[in-house]
Symmetry: C2
Subunit: 717 residues, 2 copies
């Protein structure tokens, strides 16, 4: 492809590359980074002016050295070079990159020779965690290979400042918003906590582009980002997080902007949405175009493994009988064989189009030979094994069975082979030979059910986007951490640790592999509780340990009742509550050649009197006042983060002292979790409490670390 | 400091920065990277031409995002800039960096503006692991911030090629050798497997500098790198790995080279060697100098936490009685108080020298206030609690007691307080308030004992280097993995898995946090064993499972006896067996301005007839022949790596099949470890064995993953 003309900004758009996905699998281990490399090479070939990545570049937020290495290698190969980047940066990048030590965009840093700058936001998979709140994108940013933008430091007060670019006569304002927990972001939008800054000069000349990484359509009332929340001065929204590729712009007639959902570049779950073709996109923006019709070129990705999916209801197959396991198995094998053939044909066709011809002999002759020369396909066969006459409604939707033999609780259901045993027949012919087949039981016809699931609430929403949220729709028998924890808490009488925060800490420990999450959580709880006790004058007067116990019980009781009332639900209304700040710069005469950065917003912009909104101003004011009225209690919707962060944690944990006479077992337990913090706290108290406390203490059991470790082991399997 | 003159190559030398050490500790978490930053800033201030790092830049081989971020940030701030690097590269760097995708040294890459190139080797802590054999230095290399040299791909055939630099009239040949397992490297040297390439032109004009990262002095016969092994054409060896800083060049009169042991920049263990002052070094090389006397300037590091260590034998204190626990505790508290005062004085003096004056009021007034303004010291008090008259020799050296109360097996020993309880008194005044005191019991006077330990075999060696190997000397009650594993193996009858390889895999799992190490090990074993069975014609004939069992038992018996004979010890002799290859280039006329890289060695150089050794050639030939004579068996000295890698693993593990009727528990166990591999193997066998095997199979128990996870948890605590 030729160079873009002097007024055209050409952008490569990709998202959800999930580099590192399945990297321990012997067959698919390299899929993710190889596709990422292909994408980077496309960017280079097309000589784009910029690469935009809309989150989840990495599959986990602690990428392996291999993932990091491959990503850095590909970016270095694609983005560095002598070709000058023709984008002129018109704004002060430190407003966007100010969180970092390196506030300049990389292509303006004199120490790097960047020909294609890459701009990326962090997603929910590669989010910032730990003490230092660093995400993998920060590593790439400090290395100078990527510009990590859209970083949010306070989730309840978000100010989005654009990066302003110009090439020839075309102007681009680029906004980014990192992935934020859905309910949190929803609330912040509803409360008017999100402010967009817009350039005030050359109004209307800017193409306003925004990258987000959120659920596109809600699974609960508040667990998504409604398009209505976004301001209508935007021209295009790049929507990361959703893995289904929709290879065209979808126009939102109410907000008058386009939405592009590029989808993932690797299939991370074997569902309908991921079975569709995968693309990256070249976007061309030119000042002569109608802004609602930028040029979009989908580029099919050639390194994607062919993925075939099929749904079968056994009760629709006339010649199969429920008790005849052998025939059912035979039939299913036939189905898989067909799918493999289809997939291989498709793969070969793809390879042929890219100039790779598969040997004719191989094609007809030997299937094993063939499987060596072309990449093995991913195959998923979903089988409804519900019997033809069983109509027990309470059984419908009883879930899928993957790891154990099907327990025949309804004698009329079809007998099927163990799924792993079934799948293993196809070793060497498919890439996922452990989980080809997935059994489920449902009375409704399969087709209706799937439509139901995937396109569910889309009619309420603008556009007809069908959605796959790979976090929520995962019903492959994954462990539900919350259930396990609650179960544990019930069994172990851990009533003094706040449940919500505990769940959150365990989630971090399991999902994000944050080894210190539990220790930090318990340390913080202990700190809060000791502070509470120390600051209570009432407490310090008491010398009798029994009185102290009574005090603690009271605090605990008060807490429990308060917490219940806080969890009342909050009805989501759909008003627009986005703030858009506009400020006239001191010098309104704007010349393109001026080297001074445009002052987008100054301190003054936060005064409400100066707000000039391009969206419905009165509506915004109304909505603000609506939310001011509601009581603070009713706003909290299962918002565990805040409960941990705030200092009003008032459950009390009492831990034993370090008397040598205690049982060895207990002391190990204690030291494994919060030894240091405890002893620190203890010393704080020692002066005043030593005499009264050393005699009797109630020991609250804390969960043993190896239980948690075994969760981890299960999860990782 | 002024710029070095036009003929002087100025090098900053550092090693063992261990960035990330103790990074979860609330007090010392930032010590390691802050000191690394100080070092980088020294490099910048002194305007050095090059930074040399001799291994263990990171404390672990999977550094946290924070460690990676801080290191990259410091390097980017120090090493990038407009000042041109005045070193001229005269050799083809792809001979050294050829393992990478980026074979150019970073300061010659047109895409980076490097003013100070950094060259680093990988140590034993940041070594390469995993599938992709990547170490953290590879990440830094691909980012363009560091030149990762000294990488060895085959440990039994090492060819060391130098990077050749010139500045003005001074020439530098730089060699690097990554950390290699001690016994392995020892053997490779002994077998003549290490070859040094040397430039053949302008012979004698080169300053030959080498970086290594090995034990300096042996703890066993072969677990170190003797200086004698290194060729005597070298002028200076930078010795990483040893944490004691020896702030001067140590001349080896036999080899006629200097050795510099820079030591670590953060104390990773509280022992004598780490209590010494810590420095980095500026080395200046000039062609006018005598090569054995380069200019060396030690730069004291100011961000190092003051560390005071004291040894006490309670039986030398006349007024203390063994049964008087209270007085002993009081005395020890007094000792620690003294040490804290000493340390604080030293810290203040250091700060004063760096222009930071501690408020006079604070100094005398309030100790708590003081501790906020100056960094808390590290304090270690070693206490010999052996009683005055106890002379039970079998008790001497019974080890230290850290976590549990001392069990008084000798009534005459001094009664002492629980060490953690004792240490916790000093919270807020010392940085290591969990482990200030360390009790041990030993009849010999303390001073002699410590000399014994630290300076042990140094008299046999050249120079008078006292040594601390922080891996081996750790007697803080750390878990001995081998013992645990052997214990487990005995209990669980895991006799079919080779013990050596199993130990190694668990070490990787625990020490290096390689989650797939066990899976990979068992997969490999299974592969080998199935291959063995399949390839055995005898086996395939048998239809009776009993006969198969007999066959397996035979193989196993044969193995066990073979393995024992292999483990015979190997007497280390101290001959020099280094190969030095010299090759005349096609064009012997060498001009400085010639842009052609010097051809150091061509393919021809490997022919023995062309070897021209600068070291004792005849000796080398002799030594080669000596080692050829010894039988291959007798060379293997606890060399577990090779046992895993080689395909002659002949222990057999039989695993159960996936019959649905098996217990749930067992199937979980199995799938957690080697599900995929097993089923793959199984399918391989299915065709021929299905009939005979499906009836009976002996299940060998494999250890459950959560046991290992709990090791991990203990280790990390």
């Amino acid at each position: 492809m030729d160079l873009p003309d002097e007024d055209t900004i050409r952008i490569l758009i990709t998202t959800d590359n999930h580099v590192g996905y399945n990297e321990n699998d012997p067959i698919t281990c390299d899929d993710s980074w190889k596709t990422f490399h292909e994408i980077m090479m496309i960017a280079k070939d097309y000589q784009v002016d910029m690469i935009l990545q809309s989150g989840d570049l990495f599959h986990i937020n602690k990428p392996s050295k291999k993932s990091l290495y491959q990503v850095m290698r590909s970016i270095r190969l694609a983005c560095m070079g002598d070709k000058p980047c023709e984008l002129e940066l018109l704004s002060d990048s430190s407003k966007v990159l100010g969180y970092s030590d390196f506030t300049n965009v990389n292509y303006e840093d004199p120490n790097f020779n960047i020909s294609i700058p890459m701009f990326a936001i962090s997603g929910n998979h590669d989010d910032a965690t730990g003490d230092s709140l660093l995400c993998p994108m920060d590593i790439l940013h400090v290395s100078g290979l990527v510009n990590h933008f859209g970083k949010v430091l306070e989730t309840d007060k978000i100010c989005l400042s654009p990066l302003l670019f110009q090439k020839g006569k075309t102007k681009l304002a680029l906004y980014g918003l990192q992935s934020i927990r859905e309910e949190r972001l929803f609330r912040t939008f509803k409360e008017g906590g999100v402010t967009f800054e817009v350039p005030t000069i050359r109004d209307g000349e800017w193409f306003n582009l925004m990258c987000v990484h959120q659920n596109h359509i809600g699974h609960t009332n508040t667990a998504f980002l409604p398009e209505q929340f976004l301001p209508d001065f935007l021209d295009l929204v790049i929507w990361g997080h959703e893995h289904e590729c929709i290879p065209n712009l979808v126009y939102n007639p109410i907000k008058e902007f386009n939405v592009l959902q590029p989808g993932s570049s690797v299939a991370t779950s074997l569902c309908d949405a991921e079975a569709k073709s995968k693309y990256v996109f070249i976007l061309e923006i030119n000042y002569k175009q109608n802004k609602s019709q930028p040029r979009l070129i989908p580029i099919p990705l050639t390194t994607i493994r062919t993925f075939k999916m099929r749904n079968i209801s056994l009760n629709e197959i006339p010649f199969l009988k429920p008790h005849d396991k052998e025939s059912v198995t035979k039939y299913l094998i036939g189905q898989v064989d067909e799918m493999i053939d289809e997939a291989n044909k498709e793969t070969k066709e793809k390879l042929r189009q890219n100039g790779i011809e598969i040997d004719q002999m191989n094609q007809d002759d030997d299937l094993n030979e063939l499987s060596i020369t072309i990449p093995l396909p991913l195959i998923r066969l979903r089988v409804n094994y519900a019997g033809p006459t069983s109509s027990n409604k309470s059984n419908s939707g009883s879930g899928t069975i993957t790891n154990s033999r099907i327990i025949v609780n309804d004698m009329l259901d079809y007998q099927v082979e163990n799924p792993r045993r079934f799948s293993n027949r196809f070793v060497g012919r498919v890439a996922n030979s452990n989980n080809i087949v997935q059994y489920y039981k449902r009375k409704k016809p399969t087709v209706a059910r799937d439509k139901d699931k995937n396109a569910g609430p889309s009619n309420d929403q603008v556009g007809n986007l069908s959605v796959n949220n790979n976090e929520n729709s995962n019903n492959n028998g994954e462990l539900q951490i919350e259930l396990l924890v609650n179960d544990l808490l019930n069994k172990m009488q851990l009533s003094l640790l706040p449940e919500v925060g505990f769940n959150d800490a365990i989630k971090k420990f399991v999902d994000k592999d944050e080894k210190t999450a539990l220790k930090e959580f318990i340390d913080k709880e202990l700190d809060n509780e000791v502070d509470l006790l120390v600051s209570s004058g009432q407490f310090l007067d008491k010398e009798n340990p029994e009185d102290i116990k009574v005090l603690i019980k009271e605090v605990k009781r008060a807490n429990t009742s308060r917490k219940k009332s806080v969890l009342s639900s909050h009805i989501a209304s759909e008003e627009d509550s986005v703030n858009v700040n506009r400020v006239l710069p001191d010098d309104p005469s704007f010349t393109r050649k001026s080297l001074d950065k445009i002052d987008i917003v100054s301190r003054r912009s936060f005064k409400p009197t100066e707000l000039v909104s391009s969206v419905d101003k009165t509506l915004k004011m109304q909505s603000n006042s609506i939310f001011r009225k509601s009581s603070p209690d009713s706003i909290v919707i299962s918002d565990s983060d805040e409960n941990i962060q705030s200092s009003d944690n008032d459950h009390i944990i009492m831990s034993g002292d370090s008397d040598d006479n205690r049982g060895e077992d207990y002391s190990k337990q204690k030291s494994s979790i919060s030894n240091q913090s405890f002893t620190r706290r203890k010393n704080k108290l020692t002066g005043k409490l030593q005499a009264s406390n050393s005699s009797k203490r109630k020991v609250a059991k804390t969960p043993r670390t190896d239980i948690l470790e075994s969760f981890l082991a299960k999860k990782r399997r």
